[in-house]
């Protein structure tokens, strides 16, 4: 699951060279969208992906065009702060609009589970996991096979070269951001049946996504998925070894170690230092 969140983040980093602090906030918005579609219009969270995915793709493009593109030549740390400002804005907008209460989406299958060789498997989690893999495969195919996908990869590899080859750099950047936002929106919809919705829910996913992206190598899309797997494992391992929320400590420690020793990621391909 973290893999899908991180996938979008990694894509945005690869193409835009921005560490996107607003990623979690966009996911939070998508979770609220899922919540409202379910509560008001009785649209199933999984069905709502058809609506939220494209809607957040467009939202992502707008964010890129309006907020980030004009500052493309600003210093690196200023771009970082820009997405931080965006995250603060969106998160607290949600807090103002919908207050800080935890909301939940409970479709009929929310508690469905079955026994698999002694391990209890919850259906929504299984669906989320399967969905994440499907979306990842689709996105991967898109990047590999389509012209736009190739342009995105070209831009990630060699921005100047891509520009010289006649790629509309600004447009591709917007598309990349849109895909990142769309992917995280799908992730948001997939987790809503077994997660709570609150204005700061994105933050926890955001930090995890950073860990995942760094682990997998910044801009390395496959690495992001593998990284998601590792972080998930580390977290559940931490949960069995340490009491309470100390499990996060394992993840942070992993994060610091990877940043220090392998800033290009465990699987290479990323651009450290």
């Amino acid at each position: 699951m973290y893999g899908l969140v991180a996938f979008g983040l990694s894509l945005i980093f690869g193409v835009l060279r921005i560490i996107n602090f607003a990623h979690g906030a966009v996911m939070m918005l998508a979770m609220y969208a899922t919540y409202w579609l379910f509560t008001l219009l009785k649209i199933d969270p999984y069905v709502s992906i058809v609506i939220t995915g494209p809607a957040f793709f467009v939202l992502g493009m707008v964010i890129q065009r309006v907020v980030i593109e004009p500052n493309r030549f600003a210093a690196e740390h200023n771009q970082l702060l820009l997405t931080l400002g965006l995250a603060l804005f969106l998160e607290n907008l949600a807090l103002v609009l919908w207050q800080g209460d935890f909301r939940t989406v409970r479709p009929s299958y929310a508690n469905a589970s079955f026994d698999l060789g002694g391990a209890l498997v919850e259906v929504p989690r299984l669906v989320a996991c399967g969905g994440a893999i499907v979306v990842a495969v689709v996105l991967f195919a898109f990047l590999k096979l389509t012209d736009v996908g190739k342009a995105i990869r070209a831009l990630a590899e060699e921005p100047e070269g891509a520009m010289l080859m006649g790629i509309d750099v600004a447009r591709i950047r917007a598309v990349a951001y849109g895909i990142g936002a769309g992917a995280v929106a799908v992730a948001g919809a997939l987790v809503t049946p077994f997660f709570y919705v609150a204005p700061d829910v994105g933050e926890s996913f955001n930090i995890m996504a950073f860990v995942v992206v760094v682990l997998g190598g910044m801009g390395n899309f496959v690495g992001a998925l593998l990284g998601g797997f590792i972080v998930g494992l580390a977290e559940s391992l931490g949960a069995t070894l340490l009491p309470g929320s100390l499990k996060q400590l394992v993840v942070f420690a992993l994060f610091v170690l990877v940043l220090l020793f392998r800033p290009a990621g465990l699987f290479g391909g990323g651009r450290g230092r």
Partner: protein, 311 residues
């Protein structure tokens, strides 16, 4: 010339006016000074050395917890605890800084690692009974006792934080004209070139780190004494780190007065919006986010950068 007169008048007003202000304004001024102080502390590392820390909450929290725990458990006066907290925070800062700088982390990577170092402390604090876990710590028995950093009314707190903020500005001013200051600027502009020119980049950055974390921790102790309550989210949470850097960025990172000016702009904005729209949490921080976007987009060097350009 005109600027110096202006600064003199402003300083005079800050010293003389507060006793005559209604309590509400005094509270705002205390917030301004506290945030300006934290901004100034962050500015030494972030503004001058160009190392954008997203984890200054770590040092703030160490300051708040050290003095409070020493006072509650051993009866040590927070004035001493403040120094102890500062030293501890500097040690932690040197540890985090040495690891990051030694392994060549720069730019956003440094920001992320400092964030992780602060978050680790928050998680530990939440899960440790001895430091009050997630419930936090209350400083009971608030009989005024200046020796124990407890005063009657808000006015003495104001003068303490005013002195701290002016002290931080004064230190920044000294720094800006010292060899360390020039070395840091050189590192910020081009670290490789600075090293080639013989600047000990690692040593200089570590000095900035130690100074910055030490000062931030003193702010943590002030916070604990003023509000008499601390918990892991308030002290170690990411919002503290953001608050500090926000003042400096908005006012002008890498300038002597920038952080204080940033605090004078931001704090009233947030207080007014909170007062205007009651019962809705988050309005002030939402505005912070908006202001941050605007400042980065239109005043990338902050208010001071803009003032300088117009001259």
């Amino acid at each position: 010339m005109g600027a110096e007169v202006l600064a003199g008048v402003a300083l005079g007003a800050l010293l003389v006016a507060p006793p005559f202000l209604p309590p509400y304004f005094l509270e705002i001024l205390i917030s301004v000074m506290l945030f300006g102080y934290l901004g100034a502390a962050w500015n030494i590392l972030g503004g001058y050395a160009g190392q954008f820390s997203f984890g200054h909450a770590a040092y703030f929290g160490i300051g708040a917890y050290t003095s409070t725990l020493l006072f509650l458990n051993l009866g040590v006066t927070p004035w001493l605890g403040m120094l102890a907290g500062g030293v501890l925070a500097a040690v932690y800062g040197l540890f985090a800084g040495y690891l990051s700088f030694r392994y060549g982390l720069r730019g956003p990577y440094f920001s992320l690692v400092t964030l992780a170092f602060a978050e680790m402390l928050r998680v530990v604090a939440v899960n440790t009974k001895a430091v009050g876990s997630s419930i936090g710590l209350v400083i009971p028995n608030r009989e005024p006792a200046p020796l124990n950093f407890v005063f009657a009314g808000k006015l003495p707190y104001y003068y303490v934080i005013l002195a701290m903020a002016l002290g931080a500005v004064w230190i920044t001013r000294l720094l800006a004209r010292s060899k360390l200051g020039y070395s840091l600027l050189a590192i910020r502009e081009n670290e490789d070139a600075a090293e080639a020119a013989g600047v000990d980049a690692l040593g200089m950055k570590l000095r900035a780190m130690a100074l910055s974390s030490f000062l931030t921790a003193l702010g943590g102790t002030f916070y604990a004494q003023y509000f008499a309550y601390i918990d892991p989210t308030i002290t170690f949470g990411p919002s503290v780190s953001i608050q500090g850097l926000l003042q400096a960025i908005v006012g002008g990172a890498g300038t002597v007065l920038g952080p204080l000016i940033g605090a004078f702009v931001l704090t009233p904005v947030s207080e007014l919006s909170r007062a205007a729209i009651r019962g809705r949490a988050g309005v002030d921080v939402m505005l912070y986010g908006f202001v941050l976007i605007l400042v980065i987009s239109f005043l990338p060097n902050g208010i001071m950068g803009w003032v300088r350009k117009r001259r």
